[in-house]
């Protein structure tokens, strides 16, 4: 090992424009071109897309912040030994415990990605952290209440949602335990996020996670806004006729529309032509896999993880919805 070399202090640095200068220049150009930009967006489809994009960002920002504040607090204030004490030693048992713990934390799916990342960084077994990642946005009290409100007179659908979501999360955790490989998962080295004090560590972690995940949220929100404008709602009604096509279509729609788990029950309820099981599939898949989540997960855990995790979750989620729907909804 060689000693790290400290670069010689330069006395007269040659001027090179950097990120800050480009940022300033870009902003000046955009402000000058503002009139032209507004004219460009004077097309209903583009305007609708822009509104949906900003709406998803505005809606998700408080939840993403909640998530990064929690992940920062986990990094700074919760000792790693805490998780060893609360979670069962046996990993196969830790998975359902972590999955059920998802019912306690009221948050959207955007919050759960940085939290799961923080848990893994603190030594929680990835399988348990992933079960929590999937279950937290799907079965928390706010989501359960909003589902109850969206489907008046159908409390069995609330129960079905809870059971099918938890089942999917736990099965995914166990699958990871059995088949998952550590190298698929990128848990970023976090040594550079250790500050001079607990509060400093908290602030560095939260800021870093927000900036990092926020960019991926932008990609997801952008894709969802584009889909919102490009896919005519009329296509849906023709698909609803065929029960098998309907379930696939509802799963695809949950992925493409990327609606917050706290609102998706109202959307599911608006698909009046679809069967209860198809609506259940929509509500099970939506909080676990959608465009903004795939983007967030790829950014946080790496692409190798996302390409394996997302399709498997969809398959397990559909299977769980079919089984639970068959038992509880018919």
């Amino acid at each position: 090992m060689t000693e790290p070399t400290i670069p010689p202090l330069r006395t007269s640095a040659r001027y090179r424009p950097g990120a800050l200068e480009y940022l300033a220049l870009g902003l000046i150009v955009l402000v000058i071109g503002q009139r032209w930009l507004v004219d460009l967006f004077d097309i209903p489809a583009l305007q609708t897309g822009a509104t949906v994009f900003v709406a998803i960002m505005i809606q998700a920002t408080p939840f993403l912040l909640l998530g990064v504040v929690l992940s920062g607090a986990i990094a700074a204030f919760v000792p790693a030994s805490f998780w060893r004490r609360v979670l069962p030693k046996n990993n196969a048992l830790a998975v359902p415990v972590a999955g059920a713990a998802g019912a306690l934390i009221p948050g959207c799916e955007c919050a759960s990605v940085p939290v799961a990342n923080g848990l893994m960084a603190r030594g929680v077994t990835p399988a348990a952290a992933l079960a929590f990642l999937l279950s937290a946005p799907a079965i928390n009290p706010i989501v359960m209440v909003s589902t109850f409100v969206a489907f008046p007179g159908e409390p069995e659908l609330v129960l079905a949602r809870f059971v099918a979501s938890l089942l999917t999360a736990v099965v995914m955790g166990w699958l990871w335990l059995r088949f998952g490989k550590g190298e698929w998962l990128r848990i970023g080295p976090r040594t550079h996020l250790i500050g001079s004090s607990s509060f400093h560590t908290f602030r560095l972690t939260a800021t870093h996670d927000f900036l990092h995940a926020g960019g991926y949220l932008v990609i997801g929100a952008f894709a969802a806004a584009a889909i919102n404008v490009l896919v005519p709602p009329a296509v849906m009604n023709t698909v609803a006729e065929n029960p098998f096509l309907a379930i696939g279509a509802m799963a695809a729609l949950a992925i493409l529309l990327s609606i917050c788990s706290e609102a998706d029950a109202f959307i599911a309820a608006s698909f009046t032509e679809f069967s209860s099981t198809a609506k259940l599939t929509f509500m099970v898949i939506g909080p676990m896999v959608d465009l903004k989540l795939i983007s967030l997960q790829a950014g946080t855990f790496g692409r190798a993880f996302a390409v394996r995790f997302a399709p498997t979750t969809v398959a397990i989620g559909i299977a769980a919805s079919l089984i639970v729907g068959w038992v509880l909804l018919t």
């Binding site: 790290p4 070399t5 400290i6 670069p7 202090l9 330069r10 640095a13 090179r16 950097g18 990120a19 800050l20 503002q34 930009l37 967006f41 209903p44 609708t48 822009a50 509104t51 949906v52 994009f53 900003v54 709406a55 998803i56 505005i58 809606q59 920002t61 408080p62 912040l65 969206a150 008046p152 080295p189 550079h192 602030r203 939260a206 800021t207 870093h208 927000f210 900036l211 990092h212 926020g214 960019g215 991926y216 932008v218 990609i219 929100a221 952008f222 919102n228 005519p232 009329a234 009604n237 529309l257 990327s258 609606i259 917050c260 609102a263 109202f266 959307i267 009046t272 032509e273 950014g299």
Partner: protein, 250 residues
């Protein structure tokens, strides 16, 4: 990514959230109940941004302390894309994308969804919670929401609307088959989940799309019942052009 650029992105985003929340523009995107959380978010972003800026300034003052953690050569205050302590953490470029919503809010300020979104929908009347609607409150005319009116007209066969004058506020959405619909969107969470409600207005002058109007009139049968596609009909007695309400959604 450099600390100072990080700080500026956080400050800009915090400023953008503060701006839409302060000016009521947030009602174009999310529900009113989000307001306190948006204020807290703006405060957090501005605080994180300000503290990151303090870090960046300190770093500038003591350039020699910027030592490579990962063995890469680091310049002091002169930047390149490999600066600071984040570059081994791939995807630092993603933070730049956070400027997109900032630019959209400050430069374009997208308006509330309107006629374009409503015209694309096929369903109109989601079955209401109760099978039998309670009688309309007193008043002549009585103020109702569009979704309440449509629910009563379609799923209760208009029983509670007979012989009553109602008043509703919405925007004009041209009907390709002639005339226009009075329309309003409702959101459950944010504008991405907006659902539109339409009523065919009879006996009214043609108005341009997205004109906000208050319409007084009476329900008349013929729009269809017991179907999610039914669009009820209102015979108008007066149509007044009004400014866009503070909350454009129902």
């Amino acid at each position: 990514m450099r600390r100072d650029v990080q700080a500026i992105i956080l400050l800009l985003l915090g400023g953008a959230v503060l701006r839409v929340t302060w000016s009521d523009a947030y009602l174009n995107y999310v529900r009113e109940g989000m307001r306190p959380f948006l204020f807290i978010s703006a405060g957090l972003l501005l605080a994180f941004g300000a503290m990151a800026m303090v870090d960046a300034i300190r770093q500038l003052r003591t350039p020699a302390k910027v030592v490579a953690i990962d063995g890469l050569e680091h310049d002091d205050d002169v930047d390149d894309d490999h600066d600071d302590d984040h570059d081994h953490d791939h995807g630092a470029w993603s933070s730049w994308l956070l400027l997109l919503p900032v630019l959209a809010i400050f430069l374009i300020a997208p308006p509330a969804l309107g006629a374009y979104s409503v015209a694309r929908e096929t369903t109109n009347a989601i079955p209401p919670a109760e099978a039998k609607a309670p009688p309309l409150p007193p008043g002549d005319p009585v103020e109702v929401t569009l979704s309440d009116f449509v629910g009563r007209a379609v799923w209760d066969s208009g029983l509670t609307l007979q012989d009553r004058q109602v008043r509703m506020t919405g925007f004009v959405t041209p009907n390709p088959a002639g005339g226009w619909w009075l329309a309003r969107l409702s959101i459950a969470c944010c504008a991405a989940d907006a659902i539109g409600t339409r009523i065919q207005v009879q006996g009214a002058p043609i108005l341009p799309a997205n004109t906000w109007v208050t319409v007084t009139g009476a329900w008349t049968p013929g729009g269809g019942t017991m179907s999610a596609d039914a669009i009820p009909i209102l015979v108008s007695s007066s149509v007044d052009v009004v400014p866009e309400p503070r909350n454009p959604y129902e």
